[in-house]
């Protein structure tokens, strides 16, 4: 019952973000390791209910930004606010409450290898919710089916799953607590084009069904084309262009222009014959 009231409080007392306000608000973020500065005064807003695609050169700091927002990498300067709350000003409890409202899909899935898929999905439920085992099992199956897996997958160990199934199972775990924000780190990397296409569709569907805000780091031009509402491009440690596809295509920044007008971009249907 304690858990119950805590969750209620967190859902009730936390200031809600009004529609149109940024749900993630990053200002002048500086992050570096040792001598190297990776993010040099980066600013970015993610709006409620949108799918934001985040692109950038390999090693350019895309994952670093995600990890900094999630609090896995310390920042040197700047502010990060999620749900209108500055992450630096949070108490331990506030932080815990906030972490229940976002879900993360790591690039390699990061499923706990010693637990079965069912146990992986129920892991956050057990910690934060007060549910009977029967209901938790039903909920687990519902989540698995949402991400396109069947009930058979529940008792498998992560090492028995294929790459695509790992991503889906990890997505089900990320959705275990019905988060409001979903962070995806290269969700389609390592999937075949058909699998990647299905995954894109899945994310779009889930976003509709669950009313998610999705922050997606990706290299997949098809994903950017089909599911992203807006795209942010990272170059030289800053966001150099942000907006829908048209804005990207019109951008004069050399890296952005090379990215969206390259051979592969044309193959994905960008550039040559105009947008969409």
């Amino acid at each position: 019952m304690q858990v119950d009231s805590a969750t209620q409080a967190s859902n009730g007392a936390v200031p809600e973000v009004a529609p149109g306000e940024p749900i993630i608000h990053v200002r002048d973020l500086v992050v570096g390791f040792g001598e190297r500065t990776i993010l040099k005064g980066l600013s970015l807003d993610v709006m409620r209910g949108e799918i934001l695609g985040f692109v950038g050169a390999s090693g350019g700091g895309k994952s670093v930004l995600t990890r900094t927002i999630l609090g896995l990498v310390p920042k040197r300067a700047g502010t990060v606010a999620v749900f209108g709350q500055d992450l630096d000003g949070l108490t331990f409890e506030g932080r815990r409450a906030l972490e229940q409202r976002w879900g993360v899909l790591f690039q390699q899935g990061a499923l706990f290898s010693s637990l079965s898929v069912r146990q992986n999905i129920q892991f956050p439920m057990r910690e934060y919710l007060d549910l009977s085992q029967g209901l938790m099992d039903e909920l687990t199956i519902a989540k698995l089916e949402m991400v396109g897996l069947t009930a058979d997958a529940a008792e498998k160990a992560p090492s028995e799953l294929s790459g695509g199934m790992i991503k889906r199972a990890a997505l089900a775990r990320a959705l275990a607590l019905d988060p409001e924000i979903l962070f995806l780190d290269e969700p389609t990397s390592g999937l075949d084009p058909i699998g990647a296409g299905e995954f894109d569709e899945l994310i779009a569907t889930l976003q509709q069904t669950l009313g998610l805000t999705v922050f997606m780091v990706t290299h997949d031009l098809d994903s950017l084309h089909t599911v992203c509402d807006r795209i942010a491009a990272l170059a030289d440690g800053k966001v150099v262009a942000v907006g829908p596809i048209d804005t990207m295509l019109a951008s004069k920044h050399p890296w952005v222009s090379a990215y969206f007008h390259g051979k592969r971009a044309r193959a994905a249907g960008f550039g040559s014959e105009g947008a969409r």
């Binding site: 099992d137 992560p158 069904t209």
Partner: protein, 382 residues
């Protein structure tokens, strides 16, 4: 929060029509309460005598997956009881989620079977026996593979990874010197101190020198060093090879036409076989030094007397008995460590289990083999 005071799901009966009125937040945080309300409603459904149902959800302010799953329970029960129902007042934005859940298969995860504890115990014994036998076979086949790799290397000595061997020699040998020296020194001190303390009662203090000399040179030096090496280098070998297996590095070697036993195992094994005798020698000397120091400071026997007494007490074969055992101990530790590393599966847990197994088995076998050697040397009068 006035609206939240209303029950999450209220049930009423209107003639032959059931009326359900939902209110408040149908979210995971309310899990128990929601389940309770819906189960109460299910009881009402089961009591029969209804033809239609009306589910008024206009008071539901939020609905998440859990809320939808619980609601779906109610709908399924209504379906089963052949009651026609309609849902009214549900906010449009919740509809896709509910539809998605209704569409689901409603499969139940396979129940874990309960095992009879007695049968389970017997089963466990059987499994353990089988896995022990399997371990023995695996070790034999691994030794075979390593010997085959060794023979190939002997035929083409240039293919031996000399650099790798030197690297491992430094790690397992040179860098182990300080800790091995310290531990064996302390062991020597302790034996001497205990010896003096107890032998003094019989006036046989000088025999402490015999005891320190024979005990450390024949048995303790090599045992302590082997145990240290099993814990220090054996575990490292297992963890290294295991994580290489987990990340498919071993498979990468194999498809490039290399034999992992030749590239990974042999240099480690040979480095260990060279390092352990050297460490044993250092350990022996340190133990004697420690013993001599305590005998001098605590027992009042001067170093000159200690050395003379030591010469009388021990012969070269005392030293040899210890040293002969060292390379065998090294081979046991190296083989077990590498074999366990090569058997690591996909999970982090498996890596931990095999690293533990590597150290435990190596120490166990080292002690067993030490016992066999003791019998052997007794038989040949050495």
């Amino acid at each position: 929060m006035g609206a939240a005071e209303a029950p999450l799901l209220a049930t009423a009966r209107n003639g032959r029509e059931l009326v359900f009125v939902g209110n408040g937040r149908w979210v995971a945080g309310q899990g128990r309460a929601l389940e309770g309300s819906v189960d109460a409603a299910l009881a009402e459904v089961a009591s029969g005598a209804s033809e239609t149902a009306r589910i008024d959800l206009s008071g539901v302010r939020s609905l998440d997956t859990l809320g939808a799953v619980v609601l779906d329970r109610l709908l399924q029960a209504l379906d089963k009881a052949n009651i026609r129902f309609q849902i009214v007042g549900l906010e449009r934005r919740f509809r896709p989620l509910l539809d998605d859940i209704i569409k689901g298969s409603h499969a139940h995860p396979p129940r874990r079977r309960r095992v009879n504890p007695i049968l389970g115990g017997i089963q466990l014994i059987g499994k353990t026996m089988a896995s022990t036998a399997e371990d023995g076979l695996a070790l034999l086949s691994f030794i075979g593979a390593v010997v085959a790799a060794l023979l190939r290397v002997l035929v083409r000595p240039l293919s031996f990874r000399f650099t790798s061997m030197i690297y491992h020699l430094e790690r397992t040998g040179l860098r182990a010197v300080p800790i091995v020296a310290l531990i064996t020194f302390l062991i020597g001190c302790i034996i001497a101190q205990q010896g003096i303390f107890h032998f003094r009662k019989f006036g046989a203090t000088t025999y402490v020198v015999d005891m320190v000399g024979i005990l450390t040179l024949r048995e303790l030096g090599v045992l302590i060093v082997s145990i240290m090496v099993a814990g220090r280098s054996g575990s490292a070998f297992t963890a290294e090879l295991g994580s290489m297996r987990m990340r498919e590095e071993v498979d990468a070697l194999r498809v490039m036409g290399f034999d992992p036993n030749e590239v990974l195992v042999l240099p480690r094994l040979i480095a260990l076989i060279i390092a352990v005798p050297l460490l044993t020698f250092i350990g022996n000397m340190c133990a004697l030094f420690g013993g001599g120091l305590v005998v001098w400071l605590y027992g009042g026997i001067s170093p000159e007397i200690f050395i003379t007494r030591l010469q009388e007490a021990i012969a070269l074969n005392t030293f040899e008995v210890g040293m002969i055992k060292a390379p065998f101990m090294a081979a046991i530790i190296g083989l077990i460590a590498c074999m366990e590393g090569m058997r690591v599966g996909g999970s982090a847990e498996s890596l931990g289990a095999h690293t533990t197994a590597s150290v435990v088995k190596a120490i166990f076998l080292v002690i067993v083999v030490d016992g066999l050697f003791a019998m052997f040397f007794a038989a040949i009068d050495m």
